[in-house]
Amino acid sequence: MTDTLPEQTQNGSPDVRTRARRLLPWLGSLQSYIGLVLIVAIGIATQGDTFLDQTNLTNAVGNFASRGILAVGVTLVILTAGIDLSVGSLLGFASMASAMMLANHDMPVWQIVPLCMLIGAAFGFVNGVGTSVLRIQSFVMTLAMLSIARGLDRQMSDNQSVGTTVAGPDGKLTENAEAFQSLGTPGHNVGVGFLGPDGVYYPVLAFVVVCVVFHLILSRTAFGRHIYAVGGNPTAARLSGINVTLVVIAVFTLSGMLAGFAGPIDAAYSVSADPQAGNTYELDAIAAAVIGGASLAGGKGTIIGTFVGALILTLLDNVLGLNAVSDNWQLVIKGLIVVVAVVLQRPGLLRTLRHRLTPAEKETAP
């Protein structure tokens, strides 16, 4: 597509343009990461090793991990042209539930986590049914669920935050509490030994694994294709014998399940479950997905994109923090950089550029 026709070459140095245009496709491959690259560059430029330091990066990603996991679920929903506002509350509910299971029933982690996922999935299932069977717009359905789950959470906990550092009679942490901490309490790494000398920080591990798994599901399985189809053209999907209703219910259930999965992580991270936990996380999650290129119109988006989007958000935060930018200006700069990043990595950009490299470019109407 880089061949130039005689007509084109006639005005303006053609060869330069041609060469430039030859370059662009190659850029294309990297292009969707430019936003991230930009922020990392700023980080290195301003803070150097302080920024690149492994602990710093671990912390940065770790802090966002639970929201990142939500973002993966939300991405599935967005791909079907829906939206899930309830994930924040579901995470809150799950974190509270997990903390209570630990504190009140001294349950082991390997029971708590699956149970929380189940709880989340149940809520998500309701979202799915409301959206697909009752045909309530997902925005309303999940907004209602946001309110419902939060209410139940607060009722269940009587508005008391529940600590996860449960001490046994001997005053030391109970075995289960110890284990629970490894789900996210800063400084408590898992897999020490077989996952590197000082192990890895579980939230980061969990986030990455979730991304990989769902990337495979979306890109390799028929279910994944169907999600894209449902979002891209429901009628076509239906005519092809895809059970649209089921797919929609499935994605909402998965989104809820992931919120349930993220709950304990958030609780461990906060060493307590706060009745307000997860409040407004949904915005960060959706933002990560959309910055990563997911289209709220459905049918467009990838987990890799969402992963990048999450990194952009948390690293941006980190860089501004390390540079001790005054908090008010942080808000402003954050907004600006996000816009720049999104513009830079817009796939359209290259095509537009290619236009610009050819004559008569007053495209957009006055």
Partner: protein
């Protein structure tokens, strides 16, 4: 409801099918029988109920009355899955593809081949898709996204999709509306292969000459009821038309024999060139003159760039086109469609669903959309009364079949939707009318009306540029026919031999495939590549296989 089983049960039998929509009684007890290896043509005016009947068969409507039998067994079909289970496949009138997925993924959507690990077997998928497409003379790469495929390609992908089901009954609802002759021939070959394997086919089309080519028998619907059944052999075009329209049809091509190429020049284009940085179609140095009262036709194989020529003139590509234009003697350069409309141009776009209609909105809304400023009141609001009056007038004028002006356009039958698009353009009272496949999906009766309309407009001094894939239509209606091939003019033919070479199917087709005149490379090679459509969208020139078979 027990109906006695006939000795040799037909492949498919639909009995006393009735269906209502809000405000419409679409079907009033229709029967349809298809035997194995038979091609049954379904004929009827726009809104007669053809698609509805077939949609019922395909399981799109869960609630209807009547019985469906396969091989004599009563079956109940209420969901697409049911239809598939009973070996019934359908190519729908409106394209229904997922733009974001590749051709292969669309063709095998819902039936993806799996690997042992349960993941999608992309290689197998691409192989099958490629094979199916090749069978239709298309070598579109299976991985190309549907949104990058031309409308004709898309329609053939739909066909491939239906074929991939290896069905026993295949319904084709106007499969050729976007196809040029060559593909049509292709499709017929495929149909013959299928019938040879004993597949029964229901074929819906408004091109009666096609029916004569493929159909064994014809079932005619009128206003949702069964108007008659004939075997193709012993019936005549006239009879069929009388059956479907209910009255003898006025002349199909009312245009008078003499050529009207002597009016004052309305639109003059010289050296129109559109480089395509975005991999879209390119147009190369096109000269075009349209005179008041003249109907100029644009012929060409699909991908020739006919649509693009109209769109470029209309400003759909913005000002990024080169060339010198004059409109009614005054200089003009395409800027935006809005600007073009203000300058008295109007465009009937190629793809009504994607480019023309706000499907979710009402007939009135869509009809008046381009002409709202004409109904301004002193308060700069839109006068509902005048708007409604104007639209209503056009609707009756074009005989649009709709429950009311306030019914949703998506609920109209395909042909009636097309008429709404026409109405919108006419309401802007254009002096130059650009029409891209204006009679796509329109029944013979309506076609005759639209032809009459074109003739009348021309007589009133409007200049008309019409694109059509139906050569007889072009030849019947146009004063001059320009032939495009790969974005270049390759021939001009006249209604009146006195003006120049006369327009005949042969001459036009030859010009349309005159690749050697545009690209170097010997005709043989050209013919060799003739049967293919090359990959990179719009990058390399295209043609198609109207030479073989």
């Amino acid at each position: 409801m027990t109906s006695e089983v006939p000795p040799a049960p037909p492949l498919l039998a639909m009995r006393a099918i009735a269906k209502s929509f809000p405000g419409v009684r679409a079907l009033k007890g229709v029967d349809l029988t298809v035997h194995s290896g038979e091609v049954v043509a379904l004929l009827g005016e726009n809104g007669a109920g053809k698609s509805t009947l077939m949609n019922i068969l395909a399981g799109l409507h869960s609630d209807y009355e009547g019985v469906i039998e396969r091989d004599g067994e009563r079956v109940d079909i209420h969901r697409p899955k049911d239809a598939a289970r009973h070996g019934i496949g359908m190519i729908h009138q409106e394209l229904n593809l997922v733009p974001g997925l590749s051709a292969a993924e669309n063709i095998l959507l819902g039936r993806e081949p799996r690997t042992s690990r349960g993941t999608v077997d992309r290689k197998a998928m691409d192989r099958r898709a490629a094979a199916l497409l090749a069978g239709l003379g298309l070598d579109t790469p299976p991985r190309r996204l549907v949104k990058d495929c031309r409308i004709a390609e898309q329609q053939l992908i739909e066909v491939a999709k239906a074929l991939s089901l290896n069905v026993r009954v295949l319904v084709m609802d106007e499969p050729t509306s976007a196809l040029a002759d060559a593909e049509v021939q292709r499709l017929f070959t495929v149909i013959r292969e299928l019938t040879a394997q004993g597949v029964g086919i229901v074929y819906i089309s408004h091109r009666i000459e096609e029916l004569e080519a493929v159909a064994d028998s014809v079932t005619v619907l009128r206003d949702g009821s069964h108007a008659g059944h004939r075997t193709m052999a012993d019936t005549t075009r006239a009879e069929l038309i009388r059956l479907m329209v209910g009255r003898p049809l006025g002349e199909l091509f009312p245009r008078r024999p003499e050529q009207h190429s002597d009016g004052p020049v309305r639109l003059q284009i010289s050296g129109l060139t559109r480089p395509d940085p975005s991999g879209g179609p390119a147009l190369h140095g096109i000269d075009l003159t349209v005179r008041s009262g003249e109907i100029v036709g644009l012929a060409g194989l699909m991908g020739a760039g006919r649509s693009e020529l109209l769109q470029a003139v209309f400003g759909a590509y913005g000002p990024r086109v080169r060339g010198r234009f004059t409109l009614d003697g005054k200089p003009y350069h395409p800027r935006t469609p809005g600007h073009a409309i203000r300058r008295g141009l109007a465009l009937v776009a190629e793809d009504r669903k994607e480019q023309s209609l706000v499907l979710g909105n009402t007939v009135r809304f869509n009809g008046s959309l381009a002409a709202l400023t004409r109904y301004r009141t002193a308060w700069r609001t839109v006068s509902r009364r005048r708007e409604r009056a104007a639209v209503a007038a056009q609707m009756t004028h074009l005989k649009v079949k709709t429950p009311s002006l306030e019914s949703t356009v998506s609920d109209l039958s395909g042909g009636n939707q097309q008429k709404v698009v026409l109405a919108r353009c006419l309401l802007t009272e254009p002096s130059v009318l650009l029409m891209d496949e204006p009679t796509r999906g329109i029944d013979v009766g309506a076609k005759a009306e639209i032809h009459a309309l074109m003739d009348r407009l021309a007589a009133q001094g409007t200049a008309i540029v019409a694109v059509s894939s139906e050569l007889p239509e072009l030849i019947g209606m146009c004063d001059r026919i320009l032939v495009l091939c790969e974005g270049r003019l390759t021939g001009e033919f006249h209604r009146d031999p006195a003006h120049g070479p006369p327009a005949t199917q042969e001459s036009i087709l030859t010009a349309a495939m005159a690749r050697e005149t545009v690209t170097d490379g010997d005709p043989a090679a050209a013919a060799g590549r003739g049967t293919t459509i090359t990959d990179a969208p719009g990058a390399s020139p295209r043609t198609d296989g109207s030479r073989d078979d």
